[in-house]
């Protein structure tokens, strides 16, 4: 795609003192920078947002499989009444880890993969604002994820008799639920699984907040010339709102987890009932985080769908400003409805009524989005490519999840639905039908850009069909299971309850869903290996990322684009000449590329040591307190070296090499 060359004056630049050669330079510390490396060294030290995004995607898909296997084990156990496939303790560990894994290790990082890959490309930037901080976020996420999941290894070691915690408790995998309600998570009632959970989540929280700060700065400051806020793609808007939600929602959970840690490790009394602690406070703090977290999971999905629908309807998004505005309203209201997770805790009339009404109010901006999506389709020329099929499935399934959400908002009716399978059905429709479907749509949409290979064959349609069918067969009957009284988080149930037939249906559905995900992975791998070349713009796209080659070169844009409208590429192709994308005169020194670095990885490794050894300290493993301090030392050392090595960087000259 050749861009017209509307020229602006080249910005004056001070002479850069970095050297331009493709040889690795030395940092201020005198160490050789890991620039221009290849293979694993390159991946470990990269600061390139595209590679970091790809790694987020790989890790999150891996954890999606882990969480999925946990889900299948849960469903297999529940298929028959009074089944004994897994023990009660294992079952509790499975559903705890399933929830934690899916929320923190699968859906959030998969969204993050899209943020990383797309944000600079869609706003016409070279990279994110702080590339090394971005690498740090990735590796800290990996550190936290490994800390939590290592508990399975220690549980296995315990089964073989190689490892026994000092208090003799054998629940080494977290088993208190992803919500971790005190006092069940107190040291009286649960073993070191809870410690793994606490420290893993704390580390993950650092990763999320650091990444979000980075994205906000990037979106606010790194937009290409002419890309005003109200010209941003909706996906970028939703990224911005999600990032704001993360930076405001994670502090409360950080504090709550910290207080829980003080209870468990240092004998504080935040949630210790006999000393005056109020467990209900944990619930409040958790849901002050937990409800915005729900929107952290769904808003990126809405952004992705808002990008895909216009492309395949060949029409602009209907009601752009209203969609953006309603996204912001959803985000803001997300902080005002947390207690609707606690309608049965005896909040009192006024609080219950207030939270009930506010929850209903959220249905309005959500409905606005759905109306606008239909408005986008209306009058378009709808092409049923795979991403579009997934997006349409998303709207349908998300609507169903939304409607059961409205049912929950009526607090007295919710007193029957709360903690029953009705709720399980509701949030799986929202999270699978909402988040996962749209993330799959996004993968089908942007993978060609990511790897430069195009999907081929009809497998994509089969994936969408299997996933949607599996989703409905699994979760639709759960509405009825909830209505006939099956509570959540139960390891088994009696024959006489009448829950058997539909549980069997759900289990069958879960395996259909698993087949769908398996087909998807197969399609993904075969496309990456053998797909035909995708070309720059395979879908007739509308936004800036489709103006550059696929896969994008390391420097993204050879010339910084100048944008004159919303949907710049569409306007460029079909609009008036005045709306064509311009470009900034390139810098004669070439494009400045940041240097790669080992130190973000080092700082994250410190968190890994810290988290793991704090959990093991609770198990009574000797010297772990000192190792934890050493871990903190590693992090501090990493940050110092990172700061002292200097920014570095080198220049590339795409115009020379390309022309």
């Amino acid at each position: 795609m050749s861009l017209s060359t509307t020229k602006t004056a080249a910005p004056p630049k001070s002479a850069p003192h970095e050297h331009d050669s493709s040889k690795a330079a030395r940092s201020n510390l005198g160490l050789v920078r890991p620039d221009h490396t290849t293979g694993w060294k390159d991946w470990l030290t990269t600061v390139d947002h595209k590679k970091i995004g790809a790694m987020y995607a790989i890790f999150s898909l891996a954890f999606l499989i882990v969480g999925g296997v946990e889900a299948l084990a849960i469903r297999a156990q529940l298929a028959f009444a009074e089944n004994n496939l897994v023990s009660a303790e294992t079952y509790n560990q499975l559903f705890t880890m399933h929830g934690t894994t899916m929320v923190f290790l699968a859906v959030m990082p998969l969204s993050s993969a899209f943020f990383n890959f797309l944000v600079p490309l869609q706003i016409g930037a070279r990279d994110v604002a702080f590339p090394r901080l971005n690498a740090f976020s990735l590796w800290t996420f990996v550190a936290g994820a490994i800390v939590i999941n290592l508990s399975w290894i220690f549980q296995a070691a315990n089964a073989f008799g190689w490892f026994t915690p000092i208090d003799g408790r054998t629940d080494i995998v977290p088993s208190a639920g992803w919500f971790g309600y005190a006092p069940l998570t107190g040291d009286q009632y649960s073993g070191i699984g809870t410690d793994f959970w606490i420290f893993g989540l704390q580390v993950l929280g650092i990763a999320s907040v650091a990444a979000s700060l980075n994205f906000i700065v990037t979106i606010i400051n790194f937009r290409a010339p002419g890309l005003k806020m109200m010209r941003l793609p909706v996906f970028i808007w939703m990224t911005l709102i999600t990032s704001f939600l993360i930076i405001f929602a994670f502090p409360p959970i950080t504090v709550a987890l910290g207080e829980l840690m003080f209870d468990r490790v240092f004998g504080a009394n935040f949630f210790r009932v006999d000393q005056g602690g109020q467990p209900i406070l944990w619930q409040h703090l958790f849901w002050v985080f937990g409800h915005p977290e729900v929107y952290i999971l769904i808003l990126p999905a809405m952004g992705i769908v808002s990008e895909i629908l216009p492309v395949f309807s060949r029409k602009p998004l209907f009601g752009y400003s209203l969609i953006v505005f309603s996204g912001a309203v959803i985000g803001f209201l997300g902080f005002a409805v947390w207690s609707h997770h606690m309608f049965t805790t005896g909040l009192g009339k006024v609080a219950t009524a207030a939270f009930s009404l506010l929850t209903m109010a959220i249905a309005v901006p959500t409905g606005v989005k759905i109306f606008n999506w239909i408005g986008t389709l209306w009058g378009g020329r709808i092409k049923f490519s795979v991403p579009m099929v997934f997006s349409l499935g998303f709207i349908w399934m998300f609507m169903m999840g939304g409607f059961s959400g409205i049912m929950h908002s009526a607090a007295p009716a919710d007193a029957q639905q709360q903690d029953s399978y009705f709720v399980v059905a509701h949030f799986h429709y929202v999270l699978i039908g909402g988040s996962i479907l749209s993330l799959l749509a996004g993968i089908y949409f942007w993978l060609p850009k990511m790897v430069g290979k195009m999907w081929y064959g009809k497998l994509g349609y089969w994936v969408s069909a299997t996933v949607v069918v599996g989703l409905n067969v699994t979760f639709f009957p759960m509405h009825f299971l909830g209505m006939i009284g099956m509570p959540r988080r139960t390891h088994t149930y009696l024959e006489g309850t009448g829950w058997q037939p539909m549980n069997l249906v759900c289990t069958v559905g879960a395996f259909i869903l698993a087949v769908g995900i398996f087909l998807f992975l197969w399609d993904l791998i075969r496309t990456i290996r053998k797909g035909p070349p995708a070309g720059d713009d395979p879908w007739d796209g509308r936004t800036l990322e489709w103006t550059i080659p696929s896969p994008p070169p390391s420097y993204n844009f050879a010339r910084t684009p100048i944008v004159h409208s919303r949907d710049p590429l569409w306007a460029h192709k079909h609009g008036k000449a005045s709306l064509r994308i311009g470009s900034v005169e390139p810098d004669p020194h070439g494009i400045h590329m940041p240097s790669q670095s080992w130190f973000p990885l080092l700082a994250s490794a410190g968190f890994f040591v810290l988290g793991l050894s704090m959990a093991l300290k609770q198990a009574g493993v000797p010297f772990c307190g000192y190792i934890a301090i050493a871990g903190l030392g590693i992090t501090v050392l990493g940050i110092y070296l990172w700061a002292l090595e200097g920014p570095g960087g080198f220049h590339v000259h795409p115009e020379e090499t390309n022309s």
């Binding site: 309600y181 759905i370 389709l377 009526a410 607090a411 007295p412 709360q418 903690d419 006939i484």
Partner: protein, 393 residues
């Protein structure tokens, strides 16, 4: 295309699912029998109808749009569809309609929040004005109060006005308002009796309460609905709604305390048991009682009214053989029709004491540091304890 049509096909499965679903199931909240549950069900149905109507409209619009504006072979590839990007009037209109529909749900919701949260017996309560009867303001009659406590993993029910304590089962009179005080004794539990009323949590350190009332005598099943640890799934309870006379009878029965298997009274039995066991008759029941109070360490956790067994950590066993269930509702103790097969019951009691760790994994009777895991009991001794337990009615 495929994705859409399959999605439609999946709807064909719904009737099949419905046929596999028994809405009269014993914990079904769509088969309400109490006033609170009935109101909650009505509100639920209202939300279902409202959302179903929206779903039909919006979903229909979606399907129609997708069908109508699909790409056709006849479309001219060189022209673009209309590039409209918004219509404020339509959007404001749709927002208005959504708000109106939500108001339809909001008004009865608010009404019911006040209705279910007003407690009988509270000075500022308006419950009396909601429906006529004994809870009206200024009425002399006190509602029956039940103190329900959640333990890991069983329920205890105390009647402070009547001086009765039961475990995992309680009875209430039909047609009377009952106020239930809820307490969590260790971790958070939740009291859920789906056919009578929605759940309210039992939170340690916090006083919660609810009221229930039903006019239909019968037998109802409930369960803990807040995840409370390893044996959460096994934490169930049952409620018998009795006519007023039957309730009086039940209260009288439950107030009776068991007699010792030998000797004049329990003190004598215990002293004999300690000083001169050979003077006691060598029957299973006597030996069982001795194990219960001695070697079996049962008294550390269980109470039998009228004796010095006053443990708090386990259910009250005063009338354990009259209970319809064992092991927090997990095992049947009485036939569904109410008749009693004594041999079967003995077998159950034996099984429960002998194999509790398999029947209810994680239960504290076995796994507590002072529990049965550290008590050596032969099969015969367990049998004797079961015989003694069966005598408690």
């Amino acid at each position: 295309m495929l994705g859409i049509s399959t999605k439609r096909l999946s709807w064909l499965g719904v009737p099949l699912l419905l046929s596999g679903c028994n809405f009269q199931a014993r914990q079904s909240f769509v088969d309400p029998k109490g006033i609170v549950a009935q109101d909650q069900y009505d509100l639920f149905l209202l939300t279902v109808w409202v959302t179903a109507a929206i779903f039909a409209l919006v979903g229909g619009a979606l399907l129609w749009t997708v069908w109508r504006y699909r790409e056709k072979k006849t479309d001219d590839p060189n022209t673009l569809p209309s590039q409209s990007h918004g219509n404020p009037l339509i959007e404001i209109g749709l927002i208005g309609v959504s708000v109106a529909l939500l108001v339809v749900i909001a008004i009865p919701t608010l009404r019911l929040i006040w209705f279910t949260n007003d407690m009988p017996n509270d000075p500022e309560s308006n419950l009396g004005s909601w429906f006529d009867g004994e809870t009206a303001e200024g009425s002399d009659e006190e509602p029956l109060i039940i103190l329900a406590k959640g333990w890991q993993w069983w329920f205890s029910f105390e009647y402070p006005q009547l001086g009765i304590t039961t475990g995992n089962e309680f009875a209430i009179p039909a047609g009377k308002t009952v106020r239930i005080e809820l307490r969590g004794e260790d971790v958070i539990h939740s009291f859920w009796l789906p056919k009578i009323a929605g759940k309210v949590d039992m939170i340690p350190g916090r006083n919660n309460n609810m009221w229930i009332r039903t006019d239909e005598p019968g037998y109802y099943y409930g369960q803990c609905a807040e995840y409370c640890g390893e044996a959460h799934a096994y934490m169930q309870f049952r409620t018998e709604v009795l006519s007023e006379e039957e309730f009086e009878k039940w209260v009288a029965e439950r107030r009776e305390t068991p007699k010792p298997p030998a000797g004049k009274d329990w003190n004598e039995f215990i002293s004999l048991s300690a000083s001169a066991p050979e003077e006691l008759p060598d029957t299973d029941i006597v030996q069982g009682a001795r194990h219960f109070f001695g070697k079996g360490t049962c008294v550390q956790c269980h109470t039998i009214d009228g004796t010095f067994a006053a443990g708090k950590l386990g259910p009250n066993l005063t009338h354990v053989a009259d209970n319809r269930s064992l092991a927090a509702g997990w095992m049947e103790n009485i036939n569904p029709d109410g008749s009693i097969n004594r041999e079967q019951q003995l077998e159950n009691l034996y099984e429960w004491v002998r194999n509790s760790e398999h029947i209810k994994p994680g239960n504290l009777m076995y796994y507590d540091p002072n529990g049965l895991q550290n008590v050596e009991l032969s099969d015969q001794e367990v049998h004797q304890i079961a015989v003694f337990l069966q005598s408690l009615r």
